[in-house]
Amino acid sequence: MLQEKYKTEIDEILSRYPVRRSAMLPLLTMAQREEGYVSEAAMKEIASILRVTPPQVYETVTFYTMLNLKPIGTFHIQVCKSLMCALVGSDSLLVWLQARLGIKPGETTPDRLFTLSTVECLASCGTGPMMQVNDDYYERLTEEKVDRILADLKRDGTSPLKSGPFILPEPEGAHG
């Protein structure tokens, strides 16, 4: 059904790559944008578009933490568990989050508000421990800060504690 809905877009994506299967990630991103996660049907369809087998698509999806195999909650909390954050206490942060939300990594709260997962380095090593909620970074986290963020998210859907906005897209006049 992706093909029916996004025919031109898929053709455009395919035209970008000399090797057909290189279009896998853009197509998977498209599938995730469509449903919020990558469904089995989507993987099969992408396999047939790219002329690869479904297991080959599946292995790609499982490699990337940005691609979800299950429906996720409104707020996808991704806690960095790589070395730098671990050294400054990401594990205790994770335990705190688990206790607050009552779920383990990989799970979604029953109210479908929060999904917790652990991810590899998010390139914010100087300001660890940190997490990413949907597309926003939250850095130099402490337990109190996490509680405030969770409360803000629940109430407003966003939190003033998030970092940024970053300079992408570049602010006007950056180059004079």
């Binding site: 089995e40 993987m43 396999a47 047939s48 002329r51 690869v52 087998t53 479904p54 297991p55 080959q56 599946y58 292995e59 499982t62 490699f63 195999l69």
Partner: protein, 881 residues
């Protein structure tokens, strides 16, 4: 060549050799997990680290090619330390469950751990655990044991081209899965089981039945197709436990298909006949060997007195060993005195052999599997090679994937990616045509060769009349007619013809779709014409290769168990050959005519043939109802069957004699490329069964024409004395060169006799709307009816499922698993359906192994020249039930 030193040993190796291979050749074993000579190196396990002089750090020997003057050390302190650390990391997660692991006792990790690690680990962390579900009916995984070398995944992709295994997840949590939580659905070649260095992937079929040290091994040959793969049957207390094969062993080089790897239980099926059966008061009852053989001999002598030797006929399956086949024809010719012998090579193989003999004077391929791998252009006609001859298919895949050969395919199936490989996916040009129009594509190719000036100059010079005649014949065909028949463009045909003609080495593989279909003989001859015209014929490494379906089709022809040949094969009426054979046998050969399978059945029906010996063949179960084999055999006064199981034919017999399967006897099989390979006994005969030749030998004694041998080797010795240069049991075949005298005769006059017929583009019967073409074909998971007794293969496929194109199914309003009624004027059948994208619209495919019902629908036609019965397709109507 590059000179280097490994551990002080000077070595020369060809450029590009990897250090690990060079060391292996010098007898130095470098431990490794992820490296395998069949696969591209991945260097992910880090076990094969070695020290190379002037390289600051340790290098992975599996990814480092040799270089001039390289000095490699494999046993220094640094290397040993590295081995220790790597193993410590692997063992940090690998469970110590060797006692319950099927790999225990032959595990690389076990061996290396003993050799390189201290007995304790510094890791106190909790080991990684994966939850476990059943993986599939035949292949089981235990991911806790996985060392993540990814050999299985790479094998599945690189060698098998199946891509059914996925390394899901990342880091230590990577596990081998199929597709999400689905059970494995693939070719079940067992390659992942064999290639796993640890016990992470094991066979469910023999799970926990054995420990490696308990097993007895016998190297023998698989009987499930003509490829002739070497298998090692492992037995424990006379029970078949498992089958495997070693890298580098046999023509299959360590690869197997589902049939070879999982099909071995058929030999010990509980339904095996254990005692002779004799018909008394209309029922088959158990008898002793003395009673049964005495009765047969007595009746034979009586019938011979009453009706003469010409009232006898014999039929043998080409699944028997060469020794069985040879003794059978000798028994029929001497003890009985008739030439009315035929075998199941008649079903198709004879078309290929007759064409080869006619054009190039050989009865074997002029090419080998190595030539297929080394070919530049491969033309596959009418063969779903990955299902019928999977290992030859692997050679084609290797040629295309590793040697970048250009593949041209002509087949009914269309390219579709799935977890069962499909050779059309690899084709540079695929011509998907209706199964009765393969000939049109070949004519198109020949026309393109002639018109585009691709005809070999030497040939044009040598046989101008031949080139002219063929040129005239193809000029008479019009491009639009060919285009409409084949559904392709003349441009594509021209391009394909150009690729094939310009290739340095071209090989044509022709399969069941041609050999077992109407016009098979003529089309095979046309393909030889194509080879001749493009100059590919006679060049080393080029030629035509008809693919045998049964394991000893080739042997059946060579042993003279077909109507037209004496052992050799020599023509039945060739006086010099007759004289030579009579001299060796010290007995006159019978003068009577040979009769083919269909002719014999006809003669039985009219009462001319009164008695028949049927060895392992099952005409009632193989031919469609329209052939009325049952009526014919029911007329006989004596029907003797030597069988493994009580088949449809054996059920009609007056005497049924229990024969040994291939696992219980010694002998030899000749594979499709003409290599005679030894078959060795793995278990004792089941019940009172005996090898076929022993039964015939005992009968001959009772009939007063003793044909006696001590063992199978003596028979082979006699065969060798009879056929010059026969059966040099070497590692590879020594293909015959085309006989130039025969080629010249063909070019001079031989081609002309049926030229008009062969080059006539018969107007294909227009398909009536709503009609499907039903094809009864071989499936990847079965071979004949024997494999349908194998528990393992039945796990994968246990019923006849009709394959349909999804679009057709949508039109019929049915979906996967629905039952449909398939019918035509001859009969009807109901079957569940399976949607397969590889099946083109208008086609329905049914496996011949479950065709009890489907055989009602099929008609029979006979080849006018080779008398091959064609009965594999029918026009049918399909309705939703």
């Amino acid at each position: 060549m590059v000179k280097l030193t490994i551990d002080g040993v000077p070595i020369t190796a060809p450029k590009g050799t990897l250090v690990i291979e060079a060391a292996r050749q010098a007898g130095i074993m470098i431990p490794h997990f992820c490296y395998h000579p069949k696969l591209k190196w991945d260097a992910n396990c880090r076990m094969c680290l070695v020290e190379i002089e002037r390289v600051p750090k340790l290098q992975t020997s599996c990814s480092t090619p040799v270089a001039e003057g390289m000095v490699v050390r494999t046993a220094t302190t640094a290397v040993t330390q590295a081995h220790k650390s790597v193993l410590e990391f692997i063992l940090a997660n690998h469970p110590l469950d060797c006692p319950v692991c099927d790999q225990g006792g032959r595990c690389d990790l076990q061996d290396f751990s003993h050799e390189y690690t201290p007995t304790t680990s510094r890791f106190i962390e909790v080991k990684r655990i994966f939850p476990k579900e059943y993986f599939s009916a035949l292949i089981e995984t235990q991911m806790n044991r996985c060392v993540q070398c990814l050999r299985c995944v790479r094998y599945c992709d690189e060698v098998m081209d199946v891509k059914a295994l996925a390394p899901a997840g990342r880091g230590t949590m990577t596990e081998i899965k199929h597709f999400t939580h689905h059970e494995l659905d693939c070719e079940f070649c067992g390659g992942c089981v064999q290639i796993c260095p640890v016990g992470a992937i094991t066979s469910r079929l023999s799970m926990y039945e054995y420990r490696p040290w308990m097993l007895k091994r016998a190297d023998t040959i698989c009987t499930y197709c003509g490829d002739g793969c070497q298998i090692t049957i492992q037995t424990k207390e006379n029970k078949l436990i498992e089958v495997n094969t070693a890298h580098g062993a046999g023509r299959n080089n360590g690869d197997l298909c589902a049939r070879g790897f999982f099909g071995y239980h058929a030999s010990t099926h509980p339904d095996r006949l254990q005692h002779p059966l004799v018909r008394r008061n209309g029922e088959l009852v158990q008898a002793t060997w003395e009673e049964a053989l005495g009765f047969v001999a007595e009746t034979c002598i009586r019938l011979k007195m009453e009706h003469g030797a010409e009232a006898f006929a014999g039929l043998i399956a080409s699944r028997c060993t060469n020794e069985d086949l040879y003794v059978f024809q000798k028994f029929m010719r001497l003890a009985i005195g008739t030439n009315r012998i035929d075998s199941s090579a008649r079903y198709g193989q004879i078309n290929g052999v007759r064409a080869l003999r006619r054009v190039q004077g050989t009865h074997r391929w002029a090419v080998t599997f190595e030539d297929i791998v080394a070919a530049d252009a491969l033309l596959l006609v009418g063969t779903n090679i990955t299902e019928t001859n999977p290992i030859t298919g692997l050679k084609v895949k290797e040629a295309v994937k590793k040697r970048t050969a250009t593949l041209l395919t002509v087949d009914a199936l269309v390219p579709a990616v799935g977890t069962i490989s499909n050779i059309a996916n690899l084709a540079a040009h695929h011509f998907p045509v209706h199964p009765d129009r393969f000939g049109h594509v070949v004519l198109g190719l020949i026309k393109a060769v002639v018109e585009d000036g691709l005809v070999d100059q030497a040939l044009a010079h040598r046989a101008p009349a031949y080139v002219q005649a063929i040129g005239d014949a193809v000029q008479a065909l019009s491009w639009p007619a060919l285009e409409s028949a084949t559904g392709t463009t003349s441009g594509a045909l021209r391009e394909a013809a150009r690729i094939f003609a310009r290739a340095a080495r071209g090989v044509v593989l022709v399969g069941q779709g041609v050999l077992r279909s109407p016009g098979g003989y003529g089309l095979t001859t046309n393909l030889l014409d194509l080879l001749l015209l493009t100059g590919q014929h006679g060049r080393p490494g080029c030629g035509l290769a008809p693919l045998a379906e049964e394991n000893n089709d080739q042997g059946a022809v060579e042993m003279g168990t077909v109507a037209e040949y004496l052992p050799g094969p020599c023509d039945l009426n060739d006086p010099t050959a007759r004289e030579r054979i009579a001299g060796l046998w010290k007995e006159e050969l019978p003068k009577g005519p040979g009769r083919t399978l269909t002719e014999t059945l006809e003669e039985a029906r009219t009462g001319k043939v009164k008695a028949m010996f049927v060895v392992g063949e099952n005409p009632v179960g193989s031919l469609p109802h329209a052939a009325r084999a049952k009526d014919a055999l029911a007329q006989l006064e004596l029907l003797v069957c030597q069988e493994l199981f009580l088949t449809e034919t054996a059920a009609l017999a007056h005497v049924v004699l229990p024969a040994c399967s291939y696992a219980e006897k010694d002998g030899s099989f000749t594979n499709t490329e003409g290599l005679v390979q030894p078959v060795r006994r793995a278990i004792e005969p089941i019940g009172e069964s005996r090898p076929d030749w022993e039964i015939l030998s005992a009968l001959s004694v009772l009939m007063g024409y003793p044909i006696e041998y001590g063992d199978a080797k003596e028979i082979l010795k006699e065969i060798r004395s009879l056929i010059p240069g026969y059966g040099l049991l070497g590692a590879g075949p020594n293909p015959p060169r085309p006989d130039e005298a025969v080629v010249s005769r063909y070019l001079r006059e031989g081609y002309a006799e049926d030229l008009a017929n062969r080059y006539a583009a018969t107007q294909p019967t227009e398909k009536r709307t709503g009609h499907f073409t039903l094809l009864v074909t071989q499936s990847l998971f079965h071979s004949g009816k024997f494999s349908t007794r194998s528990t393992g293969l039945l796990e994968i496929q246990n019923t006849g499922v009709l394959g349909l194109n999804p679009a057709d199914a949508a039109r019929l309003g049915v979906t996967d698993g629905d039952r449909v009624r398939v019918s035509n004027t001859l009969g009807e059948l109901t079957a569940p359906i399976k949607l397969l994208e590889r099946i083109p619209e208008g086609l329905a495919v049914f496996p011949e192994h479950f065709d009890e019902e489907a055989r009602r629908l099929l008609g029979v036609s006979t080849d006018p020249q080779t008398r091959v019965p064609y009965c594999k397709s029918a026009q049918v109507v399909i309705e939703k039930l």
